[in-house]
């Protein structure tokens, strides 16, 4: 693999959308390792409904970019089988709301097999899930199911928030010997950034401080990172310095980076699109409180969806955290 890289011309930095960055990352992973296969509904000829895998079938053939029958349990279940034969499958679940038919294969099989075999079996399977709302979609197309998987031991759960991470994290996920559930913020698919294929990326199990600040910490991942960055920008105009931590990985969680931030700022607001109730924010709040008990000026507050199914799109602006709701929580934290 390394030889191949050495003999390749030095790749150039490019402006890419998040979707394209994922595609380029997958392309790189496929070129580096002939065992990597991509599979799912419409991923081949069509290039995926979001065109993330556009061009891959042409380049790598139908055996490596597999248009599957329409069944998610089948996709993940056969991916497990391919992994058992030495392949590294990257499955696409077409939309967040359609991962549930595969829940059994992911939760009882994919997550547990390494432990069950005491390490004899590795399942380097990536399950890609476009997630989240904000695109005016019809029901079942705007879900945020990350909490189900973060609570499932044996899985790694990550979420990219920008094109640069998309490019690197997908490659790290493919290279990882453990199964990875990979969340892609679908409303950010068209966000652009400069991606430098020589930089190497941050390890995908690390959180990063996306914007430094001193007065309070916003914890977010995936689609909400950008919203939090905008909120921090707006807060700065009001004279408040908010730090934004992009978790990047939910499982494992980079507790150290989070705790370091909150100890410094003394306040913390968690933001995600999923319903707050029983959501991953509960883990974050509990964990931060345990580690920062004497540093907290106010309880960790959570902003997220309500305890309702995802609403029809004409109501989604009420459901999704936005600048106002985030800043309202920050205000509440300050006036606690």
């Amino acid at each position: 693999m390394n030889e191949a890289i050495e003999t390749m011309p030095r790749p150039r930095s490019q402006t890419l959308t998040l979707a394209k960055a994922l595609g380029q990352g997958l392309r790189k992973a496929m070129a580096d390792d002939p065992k990597v296969v991509v599979m799912g509904e419409d991923v081949g000829r069509l290039g995926g409904v979001f065109r993330v895998t556009d061009g891959l079938q042409k380049e790598f053939g139908e055996d490596r970019v597999i248009d599957t029958p329409l069944a998610e349990s089948g996709i993940v279940g056969t991916a497990i089988g391919l992994a058992l034969r030495g392949y590294r499958p990257v499955c696409e679940i077409q939309f967040d709301g359609f991962v549930f038919p595969a829940a059994d294969q992911i939760i009882t099989q994919l997550a547990k097999m390494r432990m069950r075999s005491r390490g004899a079996v590795e399942l380097p399977v990536v399950v890609r899930i476009p997630c989240g709302g904000g695109i005016g979609a019809v029901e079942h197309h705007s879900e945020s199911p990350e909490a189900y998987f973060a609570h499932t031991a044996g899985l790694r759960v990550v979420a990219c928030a920008n094109p640069v991470d998309a490019y690197w994290m997908i490659q790290q996920a493919v290279a990882c010997p453990d199964p990875v559930v990979f969340f892609e913020p679908k409303r950010r698919y068209w966000d652009k950034a400069q991606v430098d294929p020589a930089d190497g990326g941050v390890p995908f199990d690390r959180a990063v401080v996306a914007r430094p600040g001193t007065d309070a910490t916003l914890l977010a991942y995936g689609p909400m990172v950008k919203t939090c960055l905008e909120a921090a920008q707006a807060a700065q105009e009001d004279g408040r310095s908010l730090e934004v931590v992009d978790l990047r990985s939910l499982s494992p969680l980079d507790t150290a980076t989070v705790v370091e931030s909150v100890r410094r700022t003394g306040r913390c607001v968690v933001v995600h699109e999923a319903p707050v109730f029983g959501g991953f924010g509960g883990e974050l709040a509990a964990r931060v409180t345990e580690h920062c008990f004497y540093h907290l000026e106010a309880p960790v507050l959570r902003v997220g969806g309500f305890a309702t199914p995802y609403p029809p799109s004409r109501l989604e602006d009420h459901y999704l955290p936005d600048l106002d709701r985030i800043l309202d929580a920050v205000d509440r934290s300050f006036s606690w």
Partner: protein
Amino acid sequence: MTLDAHTVHDTELIQLLTPEGERLEHPDYPLTLTDPQLRDLYRDLVVVRALDREAVALTRQGELGLWPSLLGQEAAQVGSGRALGAGDMVFPTYREHGVAYCRGLPLLNILKLFRGVDHGAWDPREFGFHLYSIVIGSQTLHATGYAMGIQRDGGRGAGIGDAAIAYFGDGATAQGDVNESFVWAAVYNAPIVFFCQNNQWAISAPLERQTRIPLYRRAQGFGFPGVRVDGNDVLACLAVTRRALDLARTGRGPTLIEAFTYRMDAHTTTDDPTRYRSSAELEEWRLRDPVVRLRAYLTRSGQAEPEFFDETDAHAKREAAALRAACLALPDPPPAELFDRVYAAPHAVLAEEQAAYDSYLAGFR
């Protein structure tokens, strides 16, 4: 080879009307319709197509988020839809606008769903037409359970029971749920018709991605009859569905109907079918158009005058215009709708969230 009584008798496509509009007879599917009945069917086809076209136009103009067109599938939907009785219950996918129309569900309800005003908030019992189902295959199990309920109620009326009918696509046949519903329906001999519109494509996946034999034969593997009908022939769809419903109503269990048809439009308005299929294929199917076919028959047989066709077109146009107007007049839902129909009984957590959000919103006033 010994085959039990439940397997199908041949591989032929049941057809009562050729693409050229010639009427055929089929021994197993006798069908006698009066001239007005035939004209009604034609009117259904034309209106349903016009409403669908209007919805596509509304989507292009940004009034709907998305629209899954039924273009090309009108006969499959109207034929089967008109075979249904008042007590029957339809379990649709997201493309059964034509069936909805036959059931008397105002299509505005469906436009609301795709406009994002609600999730399709009609009362299924009022129309004998359940909510749309976007999670592929899930509704087939609901239909089967509903049919088990019919069995437990006992047949209604003079020995004639209700039936359930589940619609689904060729792609859906790969889903576990659909096959489980076949298991259940067969084991309990439930009064259900499985109506598969094989429109040749599941988004970009051609039929051969889901099966290597004709889909109607799937039923053989579960021990009930499967039949393939020309899905662009409204008469055949009507006759075949009627017979299957009759079997269901009279304790003779499930039938799988494969309506062989074609999705003439894109998967939905966001799809680009030029990426995966040829225009030649489309052209070929255009020759089998379900509306043109019935029109040819009506004309050729003298069962309708030219004025009828003009009137029908005008009527359809009015219906479409009315739909457009009603769509544009739809108010956005108030935020309270987020909270108020999730649970029937009070739910403390949600009540707390609603109160907090109310007072948050009040802060802006």
